[in-house]
Amino acid sequence: MQGVLGAFREIDSAVEAIEDLKKERFGDITVFTPTPRHEFEHVMAHGPSKVRIFTLIFGLAGVTFGYWIPVWISDYWPLVVGGKAIATWVPFTILGFEVMVLVGGLATVFAMFALAHIPRLTMTVGYDARFSGAHFGVWVVTDPDRADDAMTVLKKHGAEEVRRER
């Protein structure tokens, strides 16, 4: 995969660079930022994350399972304790809740992994150690002939360093 990488010191220049790139119809843009900034969210204009769907589904699945286990266990081998009914629903709410949290929580995390493509087995091109520190990176995927335009745009907005990658 070929493309151009620009490293910015200032956030606003990076944002403006992205806007221009978008104007110039550069499609596949990725931003590297040490910390989540809304400026980028707005300019990249991706929709809200899909994680929440997984959370909901698995949360519900969890609570169902959490209720079902104790009921099944109690009924599987009906032993009377303390003159109580075999399947006592009210206290099983506790288990239902705990299992919901467990399953839902873990599902959320794995959903996040899946959607964010981590753990990623190869460090893809276009990443630079500085981006976890104090630099903002803009990575544009282009075919070689348009690479120069991209580089100019990035340079124009004061990228500290601009380079091609392939």
Partner: protein, 227 residues
């Protein structure tokens, strides 16, 4: 300056797997099923039961009236083997031969020879125990035998075993599944290796439950066996 590096989360998963394995192993899923120790005297059940058609209760005489099935006293063996000595004539049991096992018996029972009774320094035969339940399990043979459960249901077809081995797992789950699902005289007979009497006199002679295949269930709460 593109860096390529391998990542992996496998070690963690491995650890989990090992942990799970250890837990299940530790949880005591073990059983001495199938173990078949060598006995001081290789007592041939097939000959006594299959050929001579002796009843289990002849030797294990307490099985129908006690928790313990009971072991034959040495005198019980000598009772017959006083007249049936180690030198065996040719018979439907085989050609003329000399039985080493009976020599051993005579040695234990301190029997001089055929006809001579047990001697003064007779020693009991140290049979090796095969079926062993933990001390906290109280298994009443009498209840089961009197309920018509065939010995083979739990002990396997002893009459066909040249050397007795533990037939069932004797796990709690094994016991309980029978108490829950119930015992059917029909299956009991099959387990014993005898075809269920199908027609005519046999059917009449057999208990009604054989025909109906009715299942007899039993209590399975803990205090039935654990106290």
């Amino acid at each position: 300056m593109t860096q390529r590096r391998k990542w992996t989360a496998i070690p963690g998963l491995l650890a989990l797997a090992i942990g799970a394995a250890m837990l299940s192993a530790y949880s005591g899923a073990s059983s001495s099923q199938h173990h078949s120790p060598v006995q001081p005297i290789n007592f041939p059940h097939p000959v006594h039961v299959q050929k001579l058609g002796m009843n289990c209760l002849y030797c294990h005489n307490a099985a129908n009236k006690s928790m313990d099935p009971g072991l034959p006293a040495v005198s019980t063996c000598i009772g017959c083997h006083n007249i049936i000595g180690p030198d065996r004539p040719a018979s439907d049991l085989g050609p003329k031969r000399h039985s080493v096992e009976l020599d051993k018996l005579y040695k234990f029972a301190d029997v001089a020879g055929m006809g001579a009774g047990m001697g003064a320094n007779a020693k009991p035969i140290p049979w090796v125990r095969i079926h062993k339940l933990p001390e906290y399990v109280h298994f009443p043979h009498t209840r089961h035998v009197n309920a018509g459960v065939t010995c083979q249901t739990c002990h396997g077809q002893i009459q066909k075993m040249d050397r007795v081995y533990q037939f069932a797992s004797l796990n709690m789950g094994w016991c309980v599944s029978c108490h829950v699902n119930g015992y059917s005289a029909k299956e009991g007979l099959q387990a014993a290796g005898y075809a269920p009497p199908d027609s005519g006199a046999n059917a009449a002679a057999a208990p009604a439950t054989v025909a109906t295949g009715e299942r007899k269930k039993a209590r399975y709460d803990c205090a039935n066996c654990h106290y």
